[in-house]
């Protein structure tokens, strides 16, 4: 993947430094031209820890100037996310409280629109946006694994093993998505559609990296995972039905039908054997588990709101 197109003064300055290899100017960067400029810059800085860019040296992954800027941007982002969170549930019987919290969350339904009303062009756009995450699906959770106690670590690996196809590269969820894209006539190259990713997609992906790469936020990462899984089975079924309605190829449907079944397992594991055990060990992490869960649902709502508004226009 090549660096994306800049979206303002900050990303412009940072991308130029990344390409030249001279990161000294990063210590005196301009203010971002709005949230999208800041979020794209942060996304690129996180991507250095994922797959990197063909036009950026791998040596820059841990460059102190870049890490300093990342720290500033992610501090601002974390404050924004925490500022958006409502009053979170009090500690109680965890699994029941968690499932009730998710069930009582009332957001716009993008999957309902895709199920019954979306056009083929709209679904193509949706799939292009989803490539930013699904082509590296679950990787952000893998970052958390070494930061956990043995029981929680084993439980996360049990879930991740399924995400990664139980060792079979053909069953890896990211591979299933890539296969569906290709069969649908879309580009399955990693990062191919980053230039059209809206702010809400950048924020979703950046929240996952923020939680995954900071040990102190491990509970938020696992709460994010649990809510993500707990809000996936039923929407995945609706999306599969919408894809079927629009005549998408079976490979694309398979990605979503796989998630109907897999995520009905994963939500139970994420809530009971992962977050539940984490909180038995470290009850003080309760608020962060729910902060991560709420962030997962809120960011999906923001993306749904944007797309439903655009498509209604």
């Amino acid at each position: 993947m090549l660096l994306p197109k800049a979206r303002g003064a900050l990303s412009g300055c940072v991308f130029q430094a990344l390409q030249s290899g001279d990161t000294a100017p990063i210590s005196d960067t301009p203010e971002p031209d709005g949230t999208e400029d800041a979020q794209l810059t942060l996304w690129v800085l996180y991507e250095l820890h994922h797959r990197g860019f063909e036009d950026v040296s791998d040596d820059l992954e841990w460059d102190p100037h870049l890490i300093g800027l990342r720290r500033q941007l992610e501090t601002d982002f974390e404050q924004t996310l925490r500022g958006r969170a409502p009053q979170l549930p009090e500690p109680g019987a965890f699994a029941e409280t968690f499932f009730d919290f998710v069930a009582s969350h009332d957001g716009p339904s993008l999957s309902g629109h895709i199920h019954k009303f979306a056009t083929k062009d709209q679904v193509h756009e949706f799939l292009r946006h989803k490539t930013i995450y699904h082509l590296k699906e679950s990787d952000h959770t893998t970052w958390v694994i070494p930061r956990l106690s043995d029981p929680v670590k084993a439980a996360v690996v049990e879930l991740q093993y399924d995400e990664y196809g139980a060792g079979d590269p053909n069953r890896l969820h990211a591979t299933l998505f890539a296969r569906g894209l290709e069969a649908s006539g879309l580009d399955a190259t990693y990062g191919a559609y980053i230039d059209e990713a809206p702010l809400e997609v950048l924020e979703q992906n950046n929240a996952m990296s923020l939680f995954g790469l900071n040990r102190r936020l491990r509970a938020a990462s696992l709460g994010f995972l649990a809510a993500f899984e707990a809000t996936s089975s039923v929407p995945s079924r609706r999306i599969a039905q919408g894809l079927d309605r629009l005549g998408f190829p079976p490979e694309m449907l398979e990605y979503y039908t796989e998630h109907v079944e897999a995520d009905a397992v994963h939500e139970q594991l994420a809530v009971r054997t992962i977050c539940g055990v984490l909180l038995e060990e470290e009850p003080e992490l309760h608020e962060d588990v729910f902060f991560g869960a709420w962030t997962s649902m809120d960011l999906e709502d923001r993306y749904a709101d944007r797309m439903l508004q655009e498509w209604a226009a």
Partner: protein, 72 residues
């Protein structure tokens, strides 16, 4: 494996109001006598009877929880 360690890692977990989690490779026979081989490290077997992909869980129980929780 000691009994204590086994109790932290059961073969079957009955989720309150939800599915039965089944670890490992098994063949599950449904109500009609059809056999279904598990395909993933942990499988969720429907217990509410309303799943559209039986014998596996598809999360439908969550819509039934308030009205008629499945019996354990």
């Amino acid at each position: 494996m000691s009994d204590a360690s086994k109790s932290d890692y059961p073969d079957i977990i009955l989720c309150p109001g939800g599915p039965m989690l089944l670890r490992g490779d098994h063949v599950v026979q449904d109500e009609n006598g059809n056999d279904h081989q598990t395909t993933r490290p942990v499988s969720a077997v429907c217990r509410c009877g309303k799943s559209q992909i039986k014998p596996w869980c598809d999360g439908t129980h969550k819509f039934l929880r308030k009205q008629q929780p499945p019996t354990d």
